[in-house]
């Protein structure tokens, strides 16, 4: 097996040692991971008012969100999930003592779910441009002063789309390899105003 199949970005992300055997094992794990994931991506555009209705009180109390949404016409809610099979397999490997494989599968999951989210982000940002809008940065619950409690709202919205989605009492979504975000769209006239 040639290590050239492994994307350089993945090698860098996983910090794989420069060793042929290690790279071969990671490539094999990558193939396994790709077979285990069931990617689901989802997005919805809502008005700022609707956003605040859904995410209140956390959205109104968050300075990060207030600043990000200033001047926004629409708010895009985004989600990507890989399902639970990959992370379950990662746990099984770890429990068996295959710590390298368990760790790599877990990191691979993080890499792949982020890749799905970025693809979705790019696609929807392209659509916004065609509507003469520009997009702000992607922002997720748990960052800045926007608390993880907002995941409760995402859970409610996403439950019909991702039936196995659950939330822990620590407000962590399960499957773990699930990413949620919001992204403001501003009128194109805002461009250049900083």
């Amino acid at each position: 097996m040639s290590d050239s199949k492994l994307p350089q970005a993945l090698i860098k992300y996983l910090r794989i040692p420069d060793d042929r055997d290690a790279k071969d094992r990671v490539e094999s794990l990558r193939q396994e991971a790709l077979g285990l994931i069931r990617p689901i991506v989802w997005y919805r555009d809502i008005s700022p008012e609707k956003f605040h209705t859904l995410f209140s009180p956390w959205s109104r109390e968050s300075e990060s969100i207030t600043s990000l949404l200033r001047g926004a016409e629409r708010i895009r809610l985004l989600a990507a999930s890989l399902g639970s099979a990959l992370e379950n397999e990662s746990r099984v490997r770890q429990a068996r003592g295959n710590v390298f494989e368990g760790y790599i599968l877990d990191r691979m999951g993080s890499y792949l779910v982020e890749r799905e989210m970025r693809r979705l982000d790019r696609r929807t940002s392209g659509q916004a441009r065609s509507r003469d809008q520009i997009c702000g940065r992607r922002f997720s619950p748990g960052y800045g002063d926007f608390p993880l409690d907002a995941q409760i709202v995402f859970l409610r919205i996403l439950s019909p789309v991702i039936p196995e989605l659950r939330i822990s009492c620590g407000l962590v979504l399960y499957p773990e390899k699930t990413v949620t975000a919001l992204k403001p769209a501003y009128p194109a006239s805002r461009r250049g105003t900083g």
């Binding site: 040692p17 746990r91 993880l148």
Partner: protein, 523 residues
């Protein structure tokens, strides 16, 4: 030099003669008698006379403060710098006298000519801060001073080697303060010049503190052995030391000074098993043993070290190969070598400590020094487990450091970090009771009562976990053995300051550090 065992200096010898610190410095008879009595009890391969660091500075004119109750100190820089003949200096004469008697009484052992490095002596004469400033502000003045210090050091070297010494030891404690680019011109070159005329005499260099930044320069002095301070992780230095140069070190002198003999034996055996597979390793202390170190503890250090190294001797090649293959992440190769060694009668415990665990400790050190990343470390851990599967059923005893109850706190399902902590604790000799993730405080308390652990490890990733950690710590503290059990925390939910606020006993940034913290909390 191969597998020699010795403590540095002979300061505890003062306890064996009716003498105080003043007497022993000025009475050649008492100093020689102290060495005789000391080495009659301590079976060291390299012997020293009772020596103090100010002897050359004093001879060159520095003012010295003496006391009957402590070692002498430099009290004032030299006003006029002299380069005397050592045979005219009474205290140097006393050392030569001790060497002559050691040569007569212990002809089988090496007898060290202990000389202090010119840079260190220059610092004592001029004042350390002033010397360091002089290097940039008045380099010619510094050079002139160093030249005089080197001249006396050379004379003293010849005097000692002509009076019974057969090993040349330079201690240069101040040199560790120099940055790499300044080490060679100001400290390394003078040492190299002192070593050069005695190529047939073993030449050893000791610099106190962390010397990793100047190690290439220390090797360039031509030393036949490098003695490391106890703050250094020898496993991280071994690849830089060629097999022709002895790697010497480095049991903590304070441990020998303060701990019961059983502890001294245990730590000595650990160090011997860890480094003993290297044929060019010499077991020593990381610096001079303090004068009040119990002589029985010094004997325990030397005797247990000899026993441990003798025990390893037939299997050193196997241990090194097991370590090498595990370190490369080649579990199958490690298994093959272990099976072959066991068939030839190798001791399973030695293969575990000197082979498998050695690889883990080496890799952990590399990881902590940012020389490798987690995936490489985990490959090594997997190879460890592969090798361990061949040994497990043959081990009558396993190194057992204690029991740890471990879990991710309530409301948090993140397990990767916690699982790695479990693996690293297990490979370091701990029994781990893993409660899993999202663990209720009451479950932790019950586990503590059931398993009576030495430590509890709490992992948490989210900010909500901090509250759960607090509740868990309270639950443990209110349990039956709550006051006795140490609690450590880790994970993205906490940092050292948050950990302090939670009232726990330790914080670990990652799995490798968790082992270090656990060892510190459970000595």
């Amino acid at each position: 030099m191969h597998h020699l065992i010795f403590p540095i200096n002979a300061l505890p010898s003062i306890q064996l003669v009716d003498s105080d610190f003043l007497d022993i410095h000025f009475s050649p008879e008492r100093k020689a008698e102290a060495a005789f009595r000391y080495y009659s009890e301590i079976d060291a391969d390299v012997m020293f006379y009772f020596s103090d660091v100010v002897i050359q500075a004093e001879a060159m004119g520095a003012g010295i403060s003496y006391s009957r109750h402590r070692m002498p100190r430099v009290a004032s820089p030299a006003s006029k710098i002299e380069v005397p003949r050592p045979h005219r200096c009474p205290r140097m004469q006393a050392n030569a006298n001790a060497l002559r008697r050691m040569e007569r009484d212990f002809p089988q052992a090496h007898r060290a000519a202990l000389v202090y490095g010119p840079f260190t002596v220059a610092g004592q004469i001029a004042g350390e801060q002033r010397l360091l400033r002089m290097l940039s502000e008045a380099p010619r003045e510094a050079e002139a001073l160093l030249e005089k210090c080197s001249r006396l050091a050379a004379r003293y070297r010849d005097y000692l080697l002509n009076n019974g010494a057969d090993l040349f030891w330079i201690s240069d404690p101040l040199a560790g303060l120099l940055p790499p680019e300044q080490y060679m011109p100001w400290a390394g070159d003078p040492v190299r010049e002192l070593f050069a005329p005695s190529p047939r005499t073993p030449r050893i260099l000791h610099v106190c503190g962390d010397t990793s930044h100047i190690l290439p320069g220390m090797l360039a002095t031509g030393a036949d052995g490098i003695s490391f301070d106890n703050c250094m992780e020898l496993l991280l230095q071994e690849e830089q030391i060629p097999e022709t140069v002895s790697l010497i070190g480095n049991l903590d002198p304070v441990l020998v000074q303060t701990q019961p003999q059983e502890e001294v034996r245990k730590h000595t055996a650990d160090l011997a098993q860890l480094m003993g597979p290297l044929r060019h390793f010499c077991l020593s202390t990381g610096c001079a043993l303090p004068p009040d170190t119990p002589v029985e503890s010094v004997a325990a250090f030397v005797d247990s070290g000899k026993e441990a190294l003798d025990h390893l001797e037939p299997w050193t090649e196997d241990m090194l190969e097991v370590c090498r293959t595990v370190h490369m992440g080649r579990g199958n190769q490690a298994k093959t070598r272990i099976r072959s060694a066991l068939e030839r009668g190798a001791d399973p415990l030695s293969l575990l400590i000197g082979g498998l665990s050695r690889a883990i400790r080496k890799a952990s050190g590399r990881y902590e020094s940012k020389l490798c990343y987690l995936p490489e470390l985990l490959l090594i851990v997997e190879a460890f487990y592969d090798g361990f599967s061949c040994l497990e059923h043959r081990l009558r005893e396993r190194p057992f450091r204690g029991t740890v109850v471990l879990g991710t706190v309530r409301g948090d399902i993140h397990e990767i970090g916690k699982n790695l902590v479990r693996v690293f604790l297990e490979t370091s000799g701990y029994r781990v009771v893993d409660l899993g993730a999202d663990v209720h405080p009451e479950t932790f308390r019950q586990a503590c009562e059931e398993h009576n652990p030495d430590l509890v490890g709490l992992s948490g990733f989210t900010s909500h976990s901090r509250q759960a950690m607090q509740e868990t710590i309270q639950a443990i503290r209110h349990g039956k053995a709550g006051d006795r059990i140490a609690v450590m925390v880790g994970g993205a939910a906490v940092n050292p300051s948050r950990a302090g606020e939670l009232g726990c006993d330790g914080y670990a940034r990652d799995a490798v550090e968790a082992v270090r913290v656990a060892n510190a909390l459970n000595p």
